[in-house]
Amino acid sequence: MILIKGGWVVDPARELITEADVAIDGTRIVAVDKGINPQAGWEVFDARGLILTPGLIDMHVHLREPGFEYKETIASGARAAIRGGITALAAMPNTNPAADNQTVIKFVLARAQEAGWAHVYPVGAITRGCKGEELADMAEMAAAGAVAFSDDGRPVRNAGLLRRAMEYARALQRPVIDHCEDPDLAADGVMNEGLTATRLGLKGIPDAAEEIVVARDILLAELTGCAVHIAHVSTEGSVRLIREAKARGVRVTAEVTPHHFSLTEEACEGFNTNAKVNPPLRTVRDVEALKEGLADGTIDVIASDHAPHALDEKNVEYDLAPFGIAGLETTVGLIFKELVTPGVLSLPAAIAKMTVNPARILGVDGGALVPGARADITVIDPEREEVVNPEEMVSLGKNTPFTGYRLKGIPVGVFVSGSVLMWDRKLRK
């Protein structure tokens, strides 16, 4: 038995925070109550002054294995998740080979099981090789454990094909997650189109490159009845389209990343390849719109879009560097810094975007810290401060634009299926 004593327990579904003790037996939570007294042989964790939330779920992560193990492995990524306070993550299929068949899905699950860090939910590819040409064997992948379908990073260009994929996914009761980007409009752009790109002489990606595809996907969701999840929303216009679609009752959900609500295109100044990300960092106006979208519920989820790359890959000419930010280990701190502390979101509302909401969208366990639930718990110290230092990150990807940021509100403890994997900010095992 494990007893976590004296923490503030967040119930994101009911927007409540109550002081309570949490008892865990094996892999399950057995009691959440005031004044639980430890019996002989119980392991007791003192959580006074700490926040206890249902285990955080990051529904957009790139683990890079198989194929790009020098960037990240399933084990290293799942471990970085724990340091970031994440107990479960959805792994995107753009590996090599792509997760476009049941064998790769089973491989990812087996590797994650072996690693024993965060739970890993594989996302299956929509099309073979994420090439946008033929449908992948979605039903077999769903049976093997794929929780959703996406060609993340490579939007499905052909609307007719995506329509069929959505019809198929609907029958499988799995959402389709889309990276919304019109390849002709984005062309070979490498940052937001606007003043900063003009100054730097870099090719821009206009807002419309994202919004046109968001609009298309909303219309296809309406046509097919499939649940569509818009990945990493970055523009004011996308927020508006999604808000309007939700008001009409379309089955659309959306996520935003911490970098998109924290940074603007100006982070690319000095040809900072660590701020090169797709979709690109936008403008202050977009950041404000994303925060409004979070506050009014238009944006359901916060996800890191953790995209680790090797140092040498980012230490090159800006236009040659790969897109992506390693975000697993800074997500919680940035949520506090940009959303909770300034009052954009209440603490339970912010936690909902990484617990109940992604759990509901993916149809997976979690989201509630209640008796009977799997004992996935994140423990956050709201007073702890840390300066982001890529050297201290345990992800193989050190590509963060937040180096030197002072973050307050740091995950210090993580329980996964009843095992303590981090306590007092120290990783166990």
């Binding site: 003043l195 003009t198 100054r199 002489g201 821009g204 090159v316 000419e317 236009d319």
Partner: protein, 308 residues
């Protein structure tokens, strides 16, 4: 001065310093024996990842007139995917003993990246569509030489602003020194946001050149037609070529400039570029003087090899 990466980050005083240093350099170019010992014992390496004849020759001559040793590497078609990374190449050339590396590269920001390597000064000789600072400096020098001043002049830059490093560097340099800058070109080739940096945007060339002091003509690339930035070079020429008639709309003493190489009959008419109003060959000569000034200031700026 440690590096010359671009004019955007340069203080107006530094620009003035380079321009005034270029004056005695130009005097040297007029001598019978064009050689001074200022950079004796220094090594200037030219590293060109893009084809260029005039800029490269201009830098090499500038270095030679100052008695520096020069060495060149035409990395032309090499790419990161095929071989050595840019940073490794810069480290290698620095280790070979180069004091100054003159870098031409197709990627914006390549010179900024190269400047991260310790022990060598970088001169940006054009980085993609970002900056071409020595071109703008020689343009500023030429304008000041011909017009006597820069502040208060109206300069119109005509053509493909979007893809032009020359336009960008000139916009920063001209506005820092107090000129009014207009740009004119097809809407497809004007980058967004210029109005926020104090530049007036025109799509009508006649309106743009009215009462201007300097018409700066950019080279138009043929591939812009294929990329759908332009319907045709013919239509471009009809709307944006600098003809004698267009020139007559500017001030009577307005001058015409071009960074070269020119497409006669496309962006500029022979009647203009061969007229006394064109200062295009003066620009070329001044380029050597300005590059001598830049190399001189970089080499003299600080002690390179600390003896302990």
């Amino acid at each position: 001065m440690r590096h010359l990466l671009g004019l955007r980050d340069l203080a107006p005083e530094t620009i003035e310093l380079i321009l005034s240093t270029a004056e005695p350099m130009k005097e040297i170019l007029g001598r019978e024996i064009k050689k001074v010992p200022a950079l004796r014992g220094k090594t200037v390496a030219t590293l060109f990842y893009e084809p260029s004849t005039r800029t490269r020759m201009s830098f090499e001559l500038a270095a030679k007139y100052l008695s520096a040793d020069t060495v060149g590497l035409a990395a032309a078609t090499s790419s990161v995917a095929k071989g050595e990374s840019l940073l490794d190449t810069i480290r290698t050339v620095t280790a070979l003993g180069a004091d100054i590396i003159v870098l031409r590269h197709p990627s914006p920001g390549a010179a900024h990246l190269a400047a991260r390597v310790e022990g060598c000064s970088i001169v940006n000789a054009g980085d993609g569509t970002h900056e071409h600072p020595t071109q703008a400096l020689l343009d500023l020098f030429t304008i000041r030489e011909v017009k006597g001043r820069i502040a208060g002049l109206t300069v119109v830059i005509v053509g493909d602003i979007l893809h032009s490093r020359v336009a960008r560097s000139n916009i920063w340099g001209l506005t820092k020194l107090g000129a009014r800058v207009r740009v004119a070109g097809p809407a497809t080739l004007i980058p967004p946001g210029l109005e926020h940096v104090g530049v007036d945007v025109f799509y009508d060339l006649r309106e743009a050149v009215r009462d201007s002091d300097v018409i700066y003509v950019l080279r138009i690339q043929r591939e812009r037609q294929r990329q759908a930035f332009l319907p045709s070079l013919r239509e471009y020429a009809r709307l944006y070529a600098i003809t004698g008639e267009i020139l007559s709309l500017a001030k009577p003493d307005a001058i015409v400039m071009h960074p070269g190489p020119m497409n006669r009959g496309v962006e500029i008419w022979g009647e203009v570029c061969d007229s006394p109003r064109a200062v295009i060959t003066t620009q070329v000569t001044n380029g050597v003087a300005v590059r001598m000034a830049v190399l001189y200031l970089l080499a003299g700026g600080e002690v390179k090899h600390d003896p302990h």
